[in-house]
């Protein structure tokens, strides 16, 4: 089913994965509920002190509405979010439930704007897309939603990969060791391993941006290659969860893997197996050449050119 899902299954799995991600987030919020009180990092009387005007008129209305939301009402909405997310695990095709989950996700993101990350954004994009696909329920809308999810995920990985490939930190292999040594996104055991075996850090840096940049091949590659790409992806996100604490990224991003598999099936059916394989090989070659070219453009004095960290306080 994972490699040959139909569009309905792809949307269903996407919603269920996002529901799990939301439940995990709500469990985490419950465990740090003391931060919601006065003086805590999530105290709305503090973090709600924002300019009431945002870039869009609708955004301004949403922000001003949330400013009026008291703590008690917010707690009830969190409970409602948990109920909706649990319901989505059982009934993932109900447009109304998906819409409620998306609206509550927006609520959480607006309320905790200091702490949102990429997984929150991906969850929202996936839920809104699935909601739009399910509203009319016809095959065309579902197919469009699945294609959009596949495109969005591919774009996310491609942008992440190319941004890293063009960065001298990642090209030199120093990025991964830098990250794992921090307390914010690092892990002491991983940091020790990387310090004792510098080659490991270099290999990890290269592996990450190569895999991300070439994930696009999953749209046209044969099923075996797609399976390998997916396994590497799950492994990548599992590694990020263990080493960097990015636990919800696994659910938010892997949610769209069935959509990618579904789109792959459609593309290979339309092009024919041989043409699709030729396209895959062509894109792979072009991709690897681009990555090699970007690597060669790293200036030798890149460390001196880049903005330094803030200097120590004087006086």
């Amino acid at each position: 089913m994972w490699l040959h899902p139909d569009p309905n299954d792809a949307l269903r799995l996407a919603v269920q994965f996002c529901a799990v991600a939301q439940i995990v987030g709500l469990v985490e919020l419950t465990l740090v509920r003391s931060e919601l009180r006065s003086g805590g990092f999530l105290d709305w009387s503090m973090i709600g002190n924002l300019n009431p005007w945002t870039r869009t008129h609708v955004g301004s209305l949403i922000r001003r509405a949330f400013r009026r939301l008291g703590n008690r009402m917010f707690i009830w909405l969190i409970v409602l979010n948990a109920v909706v997310a649990a319901a989505l695990l059982i009934w993932p095709s109900v447009a109304g439930l998906i819409a409620a989950a998306a609206a509550l996700q927006v609520m959480l993101m607006k309320r905790h704007h200091v702490t949102i990350d990429g997984s929150d954004q991906m969850i929202l994009v996936v839920l809104v897309t699935c909601m739009l696909g399910r509203i009319s329920g016809d095959a065309l809308a579902i197919r469009a939603a699945v294609s959009f999810l596949a495109a969005e995920l591919t774009l996310a990985y491609l942008v992440a990969g190319l941004a890293k490939a063009a960065s001298p930190y990642w090209q030199s292999g120093e990025a991964f060791p830098m990250i794992v040594q921090t307390r914010m996104y690092g892990q002491p055991m991983a940091a020790r391993m990387v310090n004792r075996h510098p080659g490991l850090g270099h290999a990890a840096s290269y592996a990450v941006f190569c895999w991300e940049s070439l994930f696009i091949l999953a749209l046209t590659a044969p099923p075996t290659v797609v399976a390998v790409i997916f396994v590497l992806g799950v492994g990548f996100h599992a590694g990020c969860a263990v080493v960097m604490g990015l636990n919800r990224f696994m659910w938010a991003f892997v949610a769209s893997y069935p959509a990618v598999a579904c789109t792959n099936l459609a593309i290979r059916s339309a092009l024919g197996g041989h043409t699709a394989d030729a396209v895959t090989i062509g894109v792979a070659v072009v991709g690897l050449l681009c990555l090699a070219f970007l690597n060669r453009t790293r200036p030798s004095d890149w460390k001196a050119r880049h903005t330094t960290l803030p200097g120590p306080l004087t006086g």
Binding site: E28, S45, A163, A175, V242
Partner: protein
Amino acid sequence: MTVVVQLPFKRCKRIRRYDPVGHLLPGWNFFAPKPLRADFAVWYRFWEFYDNDHGEVLKAGSSPWLEVAGIEERRITEAIVNPGRYTRKTIFTCCNQIIMINRAVLLHGKNGKSDAPAGFPPDAIIMSLPYLLLVTKVSSLCKHAVAVQFRIDVIQHERETLHAYTVFRSAVHRVLPDASRVGGGGHVAAS
């Protein structure tokens, strides 16, 4: 629109004005082009008594510097459920923003525009949300204090050695008594 907004040009980012909720056109360049290169640590100290009748405190009368808890070593179980991410992310975001505002204000000062440069009111840092959030948090940690102060340290990691240095120190803030406390208070005369 999603593709256009990824491009590294200001004009392309303007498309976000059409995003009604502000989160449907995210940027996907995680940890790039610059990865995380250092940590932030927030330290605080407090005073339990005033040193005179004018509500002043002496530097020597403070507690030792204590670190705001939240960025401890991560446990393996946090690969599944990670409640600590709220504190970590908040500390990181607040420190990052305070340093950026401080840097911008200092840069304007160095360029000879020290008299209230456009866009930077005199209390730009002290009235910013991240600063207020940190001072409120620190105040809530010091239940019986009359004044608090916090500082932001950058911790650089090189191999297995740490280099930590202070990049920002707040004003000393009076803390309201427990019963009437809502959040951080005004200034005390720092000695």
